[in-house]
Symmetry: C2
Subunit: 398 residues, 2 copies
C-alpha cells in the first residue's frame, strides 16, 4: 500500500497561515509528541522518579530508537544509537576512524560540508598532534583528492546550502580502494531520501533528528557503526553508559558490546520522548514513496519559480538524482527577499552570502504549499526591482 | 528572610506514599516544569517553529541558565554555560586544562571519583598519546600525590557513594602551588551545599542538573571556566555554537568570546525548559539556609538509624562539615534491604558492594520524611536477621 501523505500531514501541527518550508532546519511538531512528552514528564518523571530508568524504559531508549532509525538509513539492526549532538557524534566517528588507519594522518573533507563537522575535525587533529590535518577541497574535487595519504573521508551526503548530493556508494568504494575509512554525515539525508548505509558499505555515519525526523529543538543525534567495526573500535569519548557494565562502577573503562559503546553520558529523555512520537509516523512511511513525492514537490517548485521569478537563479542541481530534498535559489538580495517571504508566512531560510533555501518534506508539505509559496514569492519579486537601494525598507514593511 | 522550605516543598510533585530520598540521583518534578515544558513544546516549537531560536530565546538559554546556576556555585557572571552531558563537559575541561600545562602529562584523580570521569580521562589520554596518563589514588592520599608532574587535579568534590567531601579551597591551593590546574566535578555539590568556585580559585568545574537541581532525566550539564582562563582556552570539542560567528558558516574555527566557546552543538531545548522551571524555585533559596537545613536532616537521619538499626554501619563522615547532602550506611545485604525499603515506598539507592545511599534535599525533604524513613528502615531491619539465607525471598514479598 503506498504511503498516504495526506494522512501523515494530519499528524503534524502546522500553524494557520504558515507555509513551512524549513523542515530541513527544524521539523514541525507531531501532534502526538506533545502528549508523549507530557506523559514522559508527568507520568514517568513525576510518578516513577528514579525508577523510570527501568520501568519506563529510559535506559534503552537510545538503542531502541536507534533501531527504528536504522530502517530509514539502510542500517543493520543493532548498528545505530542515539545520543549527544551531531558535532559530538562527528568527533566520535572521526576518532574511531582515525584509529583504524594508524599510519595515516589526513582527514579529507569538502567545502560543502557543514562547518561544525570541519571544526570538530580541526579540534580532534589538534588534540591528536601536529602530524594530523584536515584537508578540505571543493565538492567536485573529492574523488580525485582521495590519495593513499587519506585516513578518513568525511563528507556530508547532502550539501546544507545547495542540496547537492554526493554519490555515497561510489565515494565510499573509492575511499576503500585507497585504504581510507568513510564517515558520512546524514544531517540532510535521514528522513529526506532513502539511504543505504549497509549497501554502500559505509564505515561510520552520523546524523541529527530535529530536521527531517521532527524530534524538536535540540533532539538527539545518532551514530552508525558498521557491524564489522563495532567490536574493534575503542571509543575516544568513553563515558560510563558505553561501559560494558555501567552499574558495576569499575575504576577502568571496558567498552560495551557492539554499538552500545558509542553511548557516552545520560541520555536526554524528554527529547527522546518527542522523537519516539515522530518515529511512530515514520514507521508508516515507505522510503521509495517518500523519494518520489520529494522529487515531485521539488520539481514543481523549481518549475513554478523559474516561470514566475526570472531574477532567481537555481543553486541546486537541476537533475533530481543529484539533489536532496531541498531547493535553493541565489539572489544578491536573498536575505531581504527571505525576510519578506517570512513576513508573508512562507518560512524558508537564508544562508550567506546569497542563498534562499526551501526544504520539501513529504510528510507534511502539500501541493498547495508549493503553489502558495511560488505565488507569494512571485508577488514579492514583482513588487520591487530588488536592485533599488530602498528594497530593504520595502522588505521590512511588507 | 530565611528560605521557606515548606513553601519550596509545595512546588514539587511528590507521589503519594513515597518518601523520596534519591534526589541525589534524579530530582523530582517541579509542578511548574510540566507546564513550562508543555508550553515549550506547544507554543514555542509548535507555533514558532524555526523562529523559536530567536523569538523564544532558545539560542541564549545555555548562557542565561548558566548565569542562574552561577550564583549557586559561587561562580562569576558569564562563567557558566549549559550543554551536553557531564561526561562530555569533563572531557572539555580536562582537554583545556592539559593545554595549559604543556610540559606535564599526568591527570591526578582519586578512587572516590565517579567512574565516568575516570573513563573520560582515560579516553582523552589515549587520544593525546602514550605519554599521557591518569593516576588514581585513594581520596585521603590526594594531597600528598600532587607532585610537580601533575598537570591537572581532577576531583569530584562530594563522593557519590559515601558523601565524603573534599576541601576544595585547600586542594586547589595545593594544586596551584605545584603548578597544576584544578578541575572540580560538582555533580553532588551543585544544589547540595554552598560552593565557592571563585573564592576557591578553581580553574574549571563541571556538573549536572538532574540531581539536586531537578531538571529531569537527561537534563543538561554545565561547565565553569574561571574568567582568567576564558579567552586563552582553545576548546577541544570545537563545535559550531562555540564559534565566534556560528551563522557566518566560516570554514575554519574561531573560538567565541568567553564562556560561549565551551558550547558545542545544538542545545536540548525541552530539557532546558524543565531546568528553567526548577531554577525559578532555586532563585528563592539562600545557600546558607540550605546547608543548615541539609545538615539538620542528615543528622536527624543518622541519629535515628543508629538508635534503631545497630546492624547498619555509617559509611559517611560523622562530621557534618566533611559531608555533602547525603548519608550512606553499609550492610552486607544492602541490596536486599534497599529493595525492601523501596517496596515500602522509601526510595534511596544501592551502590555496590554494600552501600545504602540516602539523599537529603532541603527543597522538598521534610522532617516527617526523615522520621518515616527511619521507622520503616527499623521495621525492615527487625523483621529478619538479614543474615539468614531466606532474606532475599522475604525482601521480595515485603
Amino acid at each position: 500500500m503506498p504511503t498516504d501523505f495526506a494522512a501523515t500531514r494530519d499528524q503534524f501541527h502546522l500553524p494557520e497561515g504558515v507555509i513551512y518550508l524549513d523542515g530541513n532546519s527544524l521539523g514541525p511538531l507531531p501532534h502526538a509528541a506533545a502528549a508523549r512528552v507530557a506523559a514522559c514528564v508527568t507520568d514517568e518523571w513525576g510518578q516513577m522518579l528514579i525508577r523510570g530508568w527501568n520501568a519506563a524504559g529510559w535506559m534503552d531508549q537510545p538503542t531502541r530508537l536507534g533501531n527504528r532509525i536504522a530502517r530509514l538509513i539502510g542500517a543493520e539492526p543493532g548498528s545505530v544509537v542515539l545520543g549527544d549532538t551531531l558535532s559530538i557524534k562527528v568527533y566520535q566517528a572521526l576518532a574511531s576512524a582515525l584509529d583504524m588507519a594508524p599510519t595515516r594522518r589526513v582527514i579529507l573533507s569538502d567545502t560543502g560540508n557543514f562547518p561544525s563537522d570541519l571544526y570538530m575535525a580541526e579540534g580532534l587533529c589538534r588534540t591528536l598532534g601536529p602530524d594530523y590535518r584536515l584537508v578540505t577541497v571543493a565538492p567536485e574535487e573529492v574523488a580525485s583528492a582521495i590519495t593513499d595519504e587519506v585516513a578518513v573521508l568525511m563528507l556530508t551526503e547532502v550539501d546544507y546550502r545547495t542540496g547537492r548530493k554526493h554519490d555515497m556508494a561510489a565515494l565510499t568504494a573509492l575511499a576503500h580502494e585507497k585504504g581510507a575509512i568513510a564517515v558520512w554525515d546524514l544531517a540532510h539525508s535521514a528522513g529526506a531520501l532513502p539511504v543505504d548505509l549497509a549497501g554502500c558499505d559505509a564505515d561510520f555515519a552520523v546524523g541529527c533528528t530535529y530536521k527531517y525526523l521532527n524530534s524538536g529543538p535540540g533532539g538527539p543525534a545518532f551514530i552508525y557503526v558498521a557491524p564489522r567495526h563495532q567490536d574493534s573500535t575503542r571509543p575516544a569519548l568513553s563515558g560510563w553508559l558505553g561501559h560494558a557494565a555501567p552499574f558495576a562502577f569499575d575504576l577502568s573503562y571496558r567498552p560495551g558490546a557492539g554499538i552500545e559503546r558509542m553511548r557516552v553520558g545520560t541520555p536526554a529523555i524528554l527529547q527522546m520522548a518527542a522523537l519516539e512520537a515522530s518515529l511512530d509516523i515514520w514507521d508508516r512511511v515507505d522510503m521509495a514513496d517518500l523519494r518520489a513525492r520529494s522529487i515531485a514537490l521539488c520539481e514543481a517548485f523549481i518549475a513554478g519559480v523559474e516561470a514566475a521569478c526570472p531574477d532567481l537563479t537555481l543553486a541546486s542541481p537541476r537533475d533530481a538524482a543529484q539533489r536532496g530534498s531541498q531547493v535553493s535559489f541565489r539572489h544578491p538580495e536573498g536575505y531581504a527577499i527571505m525576510q519578506a517571504l517570512i513576513s508573508r508566512g512562507v518560512i524558508g531560510d537564508f544562508r550567506a552570502p546569497d542563498i534562499l533555501r526551501f526544504g520539501f518534506t513529504p510528510l507534511y508539505t502539500s501541493d498547495a504549499d508549493v503553489h502558495g509559496a511560488v505565488a507569494i514569492l512571485a508577488e514579492i519579486m514583482a513588487m520591487s526591482s530588488w536592485d533599488r537601494p530602498e528594497f530593504k525598507t520595502r522588505a521590512k514593511v511588507t
